[in-house]
């Protein structure tokens, strides 16, 4: 098993005003200069505050049961559901990861909200989500580089809670990474704190490739990704 912690500086993360506006259902042409300046300044504040942490481990010889729709890693059975199991079935190894930007932006958002500054609170919240997603993309790229060195490719990344993969499998994922200090806690109901954290699974193998995320791979009619993409 290969494992590691990634030291990613805030400056390596990238989030722009357009992303944040999109998170509020707006285009750049919908926003006035007051809002774009507020977002721009909040991004700068956020990047100064966050403390990223990311850890991963790569496990060889995962076992796939397409009938039961499960993936077994080190005797832990992940009930991923049909979509994730099928997308990863050609994996020769599996990377699990946890990444967080820390609690700072989340706390700032709450503080603004409590002070009655709803807009500022919302902006920080969306910036936090974007940065956490951005951080997990850098983890994904790191895993990709490790795989490429061995002549292997990687799959898309998936997280518990998406594509009908029960969020309760977070406990298995955290158990397999428990020797590492990822600075993320898991509640009994499988929620991560800090909230701006991402955990997930990435397949590694010769016959894998990343593809643009498409909702037609999944039938979860309630998924928020489906709504955003529609």
């Amino acid at each position: 098993m290969l494992k590691g912690e990634l030291h990613i500086e805030a400056q390596q993360l990238h989030v722009d005003v357009e992303n944040i506006l999109k998170g509020m259902g707006m285009r750049i042409s919908d926003a006035d200069s007051y809002l774009t300046e507020l977002i721009d300044n909040s991004i700068k504040t956020g990047l100064q505050l966050i403390q990223t942490k990311a850890c991963f481990a790569i496990f060889e010889n995962p076992q796939f049961d397409l009938t039961k729709k499960t993936i077994t890693i080190e005797n832990k059975i992940f009930k991923t559901g049909a979509v994730v199991c099928s997308m990863l079935k050609r994996s020769e190894a599996i990377a699990l990861f946890i990444a967080t930007i820390g609690p700072q932006i989340e706390n700032l958002s709450k503080k603004e909200m409590a002070a009655g500054n709803g807009l500022e609170g919302l902006v920080f919240d969306i910036i936090g989500s974007e940065l956490a997603e951005n951080l997990s993309e850098l983890v994904h790229l790191h895993i990709t580089q490790l795989a490429n060195k061995k002549g292997l490719n990687v799959s898309n990344r998936f997280s518990p809670g998406y594509c009908n993969w029960p969020v309760s499998d977070q406990h298995n994922l955290f158990d397999l990474l428990n020797e590492m200090d990822c600075s993320v806690n898991l509640s009994p109901s499988s929620l991560m704190t800090p909230v701006k954290s991402v955990s997930g699974i990435i397949g590694i193998g010769k016959n894998l490739r990343r593809v643009a995320y498409k909702c037609n791979i999944c039938n979860d009619k309630h998924c928020i990704m489906r709504r955003q993409n529609s």
């Binding site: 007051y34 807009l119 109901s189 929620l191 909230v195």
Partner: protein, 224 residues
């Protein structure tokens, strides 16, 4: 400036999101008095608090809600208006407490058990409060007994449940079912990113709110 003009200006401040004189937004109103100063002036002029509330504040927020529904403005502008409204409401608080001015009703809101997301819930709470309702915010990860206790304390309230995760929609379903088992006549509104109108019907909620204004429209219809 007479009372009609003052209320018109106050309404404009709330609609445009001019909180106070120092507020930089909107740029076109820079340096002008905002909702904070104008409400104070209105009270000093002897305008009744109920007139300030109905003729300036709520009417302004209704316009904001209409513009939002028509996609003429977006969440940020709505939040700035809510902030201006709240600046004004601070001056009216003593009149709410004395009973001289009554709110439209009570709204209990919380994010369901197992879900820590509070941003959407907070936005709804702010807009509903700005529309003249008393909001009882139970917070996040709210288990059914806490909702039931709040309903026992405020039996005339309408209840809003929020969920952000597809996985906590089951919690929402359970809570709706348990509340209605004990309080069949309590009105329940559900909302949140993965929630849909079809899901709200499936779980027996009374209404689905796609956005904060949707919640306000439903609430106002109950007291119309």
């Amino acid at each position: 400036m007479d009372s009609t003009e003052l209320l018109r200006k106050l309404s404009e401040c709330v609609e445009m999101g001019k909180v106070n004189k120092d507020a930089p937004f909107p740029p076109a109103m820079k340096g002008m008095d905002g909702a904070d100063e104008l409400t104070k002036q209105a009270l000093e002029m002897g305008i009744k608090p109920i007139e300030i509330l109905n003729d300036a504040l709520i009417s302004a927020m209704e316009k904001v809600g209409e513009k939002f529904s028509q996609k003429k403005i977006f969440v940020p502008q709505m939040l700035i208006s809510a902030k201006a409204m709240n600046a004004s409401m601070e001056h009216l608080k003593p009149f709410f407490q004395s009973g001289e001015v009554k709110r439209k009703g009570k709204f209990i809101i919380g994010t369901v058990a197992g879900d820590l997301h509070d941003i959407g819930k907070n936005l709804v709470a702010m807009i509903v409060e700005g529309a003249g309702w008393e909001v009882i915010d139970l917070g996040v990860d709210v288990k059914t007994p806490k909702f039931l206790q709040a309903i026992a304390d405020h039996p005339d309230a309408i209840v809003g449940l929020s969920a952000l995760l597809t996985t906590t929609m089951q919690s929402m379903k359970n809570t709706v079912s348990e509340i209605h088992a004990q309080y069949p006549n309590i009105k329940l509104i559900v909302g949140g990113a993965p929630v849909t109108d079809a899901f709200s019907k499936e779980i027996g909620a009374n209404a689905y709110a796609h956005d904060p204004q949707g919640a306000v429209s439903y609430l106002n219809a109950q007291v119309a």
